[in-house]
Symmetry: C2
Subunit: 321 residues, 2 copies
């Protein structure tokens, strides 16, 4: 019988080097340090670095120096810059710390993995995505508890190094999250459904309400308020998320257009909305009743571990501390 392998107990916890000290990167540095990890950060903005230093954290604006320190310390590098800055950041890593393990916290995974491959870093890279955030941004909005009880996807793509995968998973666990293993493409398809499509529908619903003028907006109650809540997110953030996951979002949007067109046909033809409402209600119940279970018996590196991890992730399995 094989013993359950707890990732956090069996894996080294190297220093971490966080590139980008905005909401996510800044929270991650705080959370890792609070968990007893050594860590430092980089940001291109001097005021951000000054704020981090003033809060007692180790940070600098010299990317080459920060990366050379990471290489010397065998630190795990965390790419926490916005998607448009990922390419330049990876180029710097390839130049100054080409052998360091690297992860990221960007909200799409296929595009980041493609950029990583372009820079020849794929053997040292394991992608990640903590499903946490607030509507605020910047170092000052950061919080060591941002990731507590959140879900953190760690990419289980073919060819990943099991030891680096375990390091990334341990970082997520140290930050208080549970880890969901998933292939990059499956992650992107899933977040299109549960994060990007909700934004698209919220924007469309807000437009429908406003088209009804002050009468309609004045009658709006909870269903409109909640259904449009995320339309108040800054447009550039919504566009960056949705446009960065274009292919997967188009797939889920096309499915939804098909669902809505079928509902329209039934309502216009028979005067009923049976199929949409019954199946939508069942779907929401399935969401409410979903349960996580703990993955305990898939040591990274063991036989078929990636396939087994991905299968477990698809069935609601998570790694816990």
């Amino acid at each position: 019988m094989c013993q359950p392998v707890r990732v956090a107990d069996s894996v080294s916890a190297p220093p971490i080097c966080v590139l980008g000290l905005g909401l996510i990167g800044g929270s991650l540095l705080r959370a890792a340090v609070a968990a007893g990890r050594e860590g430092w950060g980089w940001n291109r903005s001097a005021p951000t670095v000054d704020a981090a230093l003033a809060d007692g954290f180790d940070a600098g604006t010299d990317l080459a120096a920060v990366l050379r320190r990471a290489a010397a310390a065998r630190a795990l590098i965390v790419v926490a810059v916005p998607m448009p800055a990922v390419d330049a950041t990876l180029a710097a890593i390839a130049e100054h710390a080409p052998d360091s393990p690297v992860t990221d916290v960007v909200s799409v995974k296929v595009e980041v993995a493609a950029a990583v491959a372009r820079h020849g870093l794929q053997d040292r890279f394991v992608g990640g995505h903590p499903m946490a955030g607030t509507s605020e941004s910047g170092w000052v909005a950061g919080d060591a508890d941002l990731f507590r009880d959140a879900v953190w996807v760690v990419s289980a793509d073919d060819g990943v190094d099991p030891a680096i995968w375990a390091q990334v998973a341990r970082l997520a666990l140290d930050c208080g999250s549970v880890v969901v293993p998933a292939e990059s493409a499956e992650h992107d398809a899933a977040v299109a459904r549960i994060s990007h499509l909700p934004h698209v529908l919220a924007e469309a619903l807000a437009l429908s309400g406003a088209a009804g003028g002050d009468l309609a907006l004045g009658l709006a109650a909870g269903s409109f308020r909640d259904g449009t809540r995320v339309a108040s997110t800054a447009p550039q953030l919504v566009r960056a998320m949705c446009e960065g996951n274009r292919a997967a979002l188009l797939t889920s949007l096309d499915e939804t257009l098909e669902v809505l067109n079928r509902a329209r046909t039934e309502l216009a033809g028979q005067g009923t909305l049976i199929e949409l409402v019954e199946s939508g209600h069942d779907a929401r119940l399935r969401y409410e009743q979903r349960e996580r279970w703990t993955i305990t018996d898939i040591p990274p590196g063991s036989e078929n571990w990636l396939e087994r991890m991905r299968d477990a992730g698809r069935r609601g399995g998570v790694l816990r501390p």
Copy 2:
């Protein structure tokens, strides 16, 4: 100069007779009695009537007797039964209390007004719709404060009796609501946008998430939770609302399909979502920044009062106590 006319100060407050003692009717009877009004109710279900009696309210199961009492007392009759029961209820009113003023609290107004006309009651009828509710139902779920600070639409249709209109508005004010005057068709178009379409989109979003299986549902966070919240409403309630407002819902659904198709074209063609996200964000801000103002100078029955009321309602005006 004409003095502001406050509806609640200047209008008689007859007893009320509530037909249907579910969540809305039961709350209305409680609220009116709490406001010092005389009132009694009817429900076809003996256990519901027993529960109302046990709570100290006046109620019975004999519809003819309840209506004859309303006729004798010149009570304002409130139709608070579900849409499928409206026709039979109006038939009973036409038989037993044909001269009594009548209002309703059903969530669609054109269909109710058409039924009222079929029974020859249009001269005594002024429709209403309190925009309040919870996911619960039945007498036991009722609450005298359900309508406090809610919006209560009072139909400002051509031909309504100003005195009855004022009685209905006063009842809404007595229950703690503000009154929005609106034509029935404009009401139905508005609630299609801000109440029925949100349900349709929530069901569709729930389906998209469930189609992603346990992986997608396990990654779902606030945007999916809030965007699908009303999909947990009982399917028969959602269907009754949406199917009862079919024409207006089809109009807003078609507009939204057009908006989503345009967004899809932009995302597929240019890789951007500029139009949808920028305009949707503006629309949500307009909703957040909407302001009510108080209608003070349109006495029911004065010259052009209906047109002026409808115009004020379109511009965000409300009547207050």
